[in-house]
């Protein structure tokens, strides 16, 4: 659990998950922000009004998933790197997971990397589809990972494999 080991529980995650119907429609954000802390850039960044106005700066984001178009602008603005965009419409076998990433070197599009879960374990191979790292993003890149559909709720990080390392 988050308070003792930094890992959210299944119940924590269930409360933040977009509905299966919404997930089936296309890209949408999942805000894995579970603690009331004084922070609100996500709400100010969302151009769709999908992250509802805060009553208090300590509020955790409440997302209207129907308003979210999955643009992902919020991903690199979240100081906690806690926002992810999921796209189950990517293909019949794969889903896209868009993650914030602040390590160098950046993976390259087309590269195969380890898909890493919230506990830091490599759980599958992932294919890097796109890397965005513009000046405005100020060193927080957003990596688009194609992962097996069953892994889209698991993968939240990626790791470039070391030479000779085999993954999953």
């Amino acid at each position: 659990m988050l308070a003792t080991d930094g890992i959210p529980t299944a119940a924590d995650l269930a409360a933040k998950m977009p509905s299966p119907e919404r997930l089936a429609k296309g890209p949408v954000v999942m805000a894995e922000c579970f603690q009331r802390i004084p922070c609100d850039p996500c709400m100010h960044t969302c151009k769709q009004g999908a992250i509802l106005p805060f009553q208090d700066i300590n509020d955790t984001p409440v997302v209207n998933h129907d308003r979210c178009n999955g643009c992902g602008l919020c991903i690199a603005r979240c100081p906690g790197l806690a926002l992810f965009v999921l796209d189950y419409t990517y293909s019949d076998t794969e889903a896209l997971v868009k993650i914030p990433y602040e390590f160098l070197p950046l993976p390259a599009p087309g590269q195969t990397v380890a898909g890493v879960n919230r506990s830091g374990e490599a759980v599958c191979t992932a294919r890097v589809v796109k890397v965005t790292a513009g000046e405005k993003m100020d060193h927080t890149a957003v990596i688009w990972l194609a992962v097996p559909r069953t892994m889209a709720m698991e993968v939240r990080h990626c790791r470039i494999p070391e030479r000779g390392e085999s993954i999953g």
């Binding site: 930094g6 004084p38 830091g120």
Partner: protein, 363 residues
């Protein structure tokens, strides 16, 4: 020996987030400010904070600390009312309100009409066998070496303390290519914001809450550390030992406010553990028990840099007003700053701060 004493309007001791914002606010009101900072470049701890800040737009939320430092230190350097003295140390606060300053081996004296003390805080240490082995550092020291000077002092680290500093420095060490074997925290819960904990956790760093260092080992330098579990009474449990081969231990076990100048000035100090130790009694305007002496930032109580910036601005606003420099929108500015500070502290993360402040706020 006769000494020249220079009379100044406002002296700010410390050029971190609180001191810089105090100087900028007082200067905006029209006061002339001398900002004295002991480092080569002002910015305080912000210069090594490569992570994005929390808070709201008014507190530079989502900006990296190092960029905030550049922005506000640049604004101070460019302001016609602010004189920045870098690599200068205030070493004494005399009974007649004179400050002794050392800069590049030269000693001189200032007699300010108002003083804002924004000296920050120092890292605490931890007692355990062999804690004097080379390779055992304060986490902030390692963060300075890595993020400011580009020096990598370690390959594999054990971080002690899962507060924001411990967890953030762990993340930044990972970014620098250092392996972080684990984060050890004596408390039963992680003190850092959970989003920080989650990002080091998914980067592969285990966090052991309810554990502490049993001992460090090594011949001429650190070779490793043994940790063990603590029971609900905080007593170590034999048989739960884990051994980590590491070349570095980073200690991130809290900060102590640097209040020596305030003590010399005669300000009344009280012990408020929630704020990190001895801190000055002050009113809502940040004026201490000594008229004309203000405090802001970690020296007033250890909390986040976003709060330090707002507190500095409030101290600067009031110190300037005390000299007759009243901004035309003084009341609305004050209300806005107080509201910002209130909101930063209003949530569960601010509970400890609120409890500490209840002991030190007067008037």
């Amino acid at each position: 020996m006769p000494q020249n004493i220079r009379f100044v309007e406002i002296a700010v001791a410390g050029g971190g987030p609180a001191g810089l914002c105090a100087a900028l606010e007082a200067a905006a009101a029209g006061a002339r400010v001398v900002l004295i900072d002991r480092n080569e470049k002002p910015g305080g701890q912000l210069v090594k904070q490569t992570h994005r800040f929390f808070g709201s737009r008014a507190h530079h939320a989502s900006e990296r600390g190092v960029n905030i430092a550049r922005e506000i230190a640049g604004a101070a350097a460019a302001h016609p009312n602010i004189e920045v003295m870098s690599a200068a140390t205030v070493f004494g606060f005399y009974e007649d309100g004179v400050l002794g300053v050392e800069q590049a081996g030269r000693i001189f004296y200032l007699k300010p009409s108002r003083v804002i003390v924004a000296t920050g805080a120092a890292e605490k240490s931890l007692a355990f066998p062999n804690n004097d082995l080379p390779g055992i550092y304060g986490a902030g020291a390692v963060q300075t070496m890595v993020n400011v000077y580009g020096v990598l002092p370690c390959r594999r680290v054990l971080m002690v303390g899962a507060g924001n500093i411990g967890v953030i420095v762990s993340y930044q060490l990972l970014q620098a290519g250092v392996a972080v074997a684990a984060i050890v925290e004596a408390a039963p819960r992680i003190g850092a914001y959970w989003v920080h904990a989650a990002k080091v956790r998914r980067a592969g760093v285990p966090i052991y809450t309810g554990h502490t260092v049993k001992r460090a080992y090594g011949e001429r330098e650190l070779a490793g550390a043994i940790i063990w579990q603590l029971d609900e009474n905080g007593q170590p449990v034999p048989g739960t030992e884990k051994d980590f081969a590491v070349d570095t231990i980073c200690l991130s076990v809290g900060l102590s406010p640097l209040v020596e100048l305030l003590a010399q000035a005669g300000c009344r100090l009280v012990y408020a553990p929630q704020l990190g130790g001895h801190v000055p009694v002050r009113n809502a305007e940040l004026e201490t028990s000594m008229p004309g002496v203000y405090v802001a930032g970690d020296a007033a109580g250890v909390e986040e840099a976003s709060a330090a910036m707002v507190e500095g601005a409030l101290a600067g606003l009031h110190a300037a007003r005390g000299l007759g420099y009243v901004q035309p929108d003084f009341e609305s500015r004050r209300a806005a700053l107080q509201q910002q500070l209130h909101s930063l502290r209003s949530g569960p993360a601010g509970e400890k701060i609120r409890a500490g402040l209840a002991q030190v706020l007067a008037g």
